[in-house]
Symmetry: C2
Subunit: 282 residues, 2 copies
Amino acid sequence: MPTAAEKAESFRALHLASRPFVLPNAWDVASARLFEDAGFPAVATSSAGVMVSRGYPDGQEMPRRELVEVVSRIASRLSVPVSADVVAGYGRGPGGVVRTVRQMLDAGAIGINVEDHDPVRDRLFPLAVQLRKIRAVRELGTSVGLPIVINARTDALWKGPGTPEERFREAVRRCRGFRDAGADCVYPMRLTDAAQIESFVSNVEGPVNVMIRAGLPSLPDLERLGVRRISFGPAASYAALGFLRRACAEIRANGSFASLVDGAISFDELNQLARARPAPAG
Amino acid sequence: MPTAAEKAESFRALHLASRPFVLPNAWDVASARLFEDAGFPAVATSSAGVMVSRGYPDGQEMPRRELVEVVSRIASRLSVPVSADVVAGYGRGPGGVVRTVRQMLDAGAIGINVEDHDPVRDRLFPLAVQLRKIRAVRELGTSVGLPIVINARTDALWKGPGTPEERFREAVRRCRGFRDAGADCVYPMRLTDAAQIESFVSNVEGPVNVMIRAGLPSLPDLERLGVRRISFGPAASYAALGFLRRACAEIRANGSFASLVDGAISFDELNQLARARPAPAG
């Protein structure tokens, strides 16, 4: 088994490869192991997916220890690197965020997502505060000898003040700051338009993460636009629940169970998702 | 809000209605609330679904307190009656099973599934032992004033000794025993063939539960065959994970995200699944 540091390095290398990579966000062990089996080189968690699955809305209503517990369960069953979404880090300042990230490292994560939107007050943290948090997380990684992969998210495009143009400039400004403070990748939430993506990438001059949502260009197009990392975000939760809704509607409309039976995995396949993958022979 | 006793009575009444009912089995709050929103009159849990989602194989490796915790989370967010799968009840005899069921009632469940297959030794419990458990659960319900709905499952059709005909007769014998011991419904696992279902129903002379799986007749046919309750079992977990596997294959094959985007629910719809439904006006 690779060490945590080796996993962090191989995860970081994905951001610097010649082609972009797709990062699926899971919400439980079953979805995480399925993504691993599907061949993705790393798996992340989706805060919205995890939280709603446990009866909490997205944000920080769910206690931190529960979020850590879910990441720990997932990381204990996965062989590939795991990156944890910590929302805004469960802290107003660097101290709380570092405490959260330290717990995530102990849980087995080697990367984090941290955002600049304060879910308690529903507004952006000042950039200076956010930069202190990112520097503190980088210093934590150095102090424990783990080159943690930091994906720094800004919500300036949709939560920031001003015109769309002002919000775009603010998102670029923030992401350049995040990058200089030690982030490995930046993540402007709600960036989907091809021209905007291209402009953002060229302005930031570092790895950029976009999320799968309606209107996002296809993977080959994102590659041409210079995007490095394409994450599911909560898209797989949205899609799986949409699928289940259709299956229920089919049962209630005409008493057919085909949607639940056709293309389903088997009991044995489900059960295998509870265990770590067997180590490759040799 | 109806009391637990009222929920148990309304759930029991579904087994005695003129038409069969479909009971979806959830594995977390999101799936349970989605099933509720889809209009099902009650929701159950799937042990396999719950356990694998948390990194345990189906059986009783997952500690009882975790299974209870999941049921508690789900019941706290649902308005419809909740029935809990307790596997074999986490006990070799009536004492342990009663302890488990009592915890499930405290968690908000008003019905249970209990099976006669010993997951530790992988064989059927003697019928006499199973009957004592069912009587003890019925007595527990009486003593706490909650008319708990007992769905008694037998695995004799596929785990029992002998020829298929002998296993069928043993499953009928067990289910008649369960019924006489106080079960509200009996559940012969692996019963899917129409002729066998018809024979089983007429031999048992009480409500019979079948599970959705490949080969099960459609709902209108099951109604004609006299089935009262059709549960998802782990079918929704199998199907949702099969769906996700296809979505991942599509991304990896041609870089398209359509499966994750088309027909998905929205962020707001996901978030609403974390909360109880608003009480009807008036």
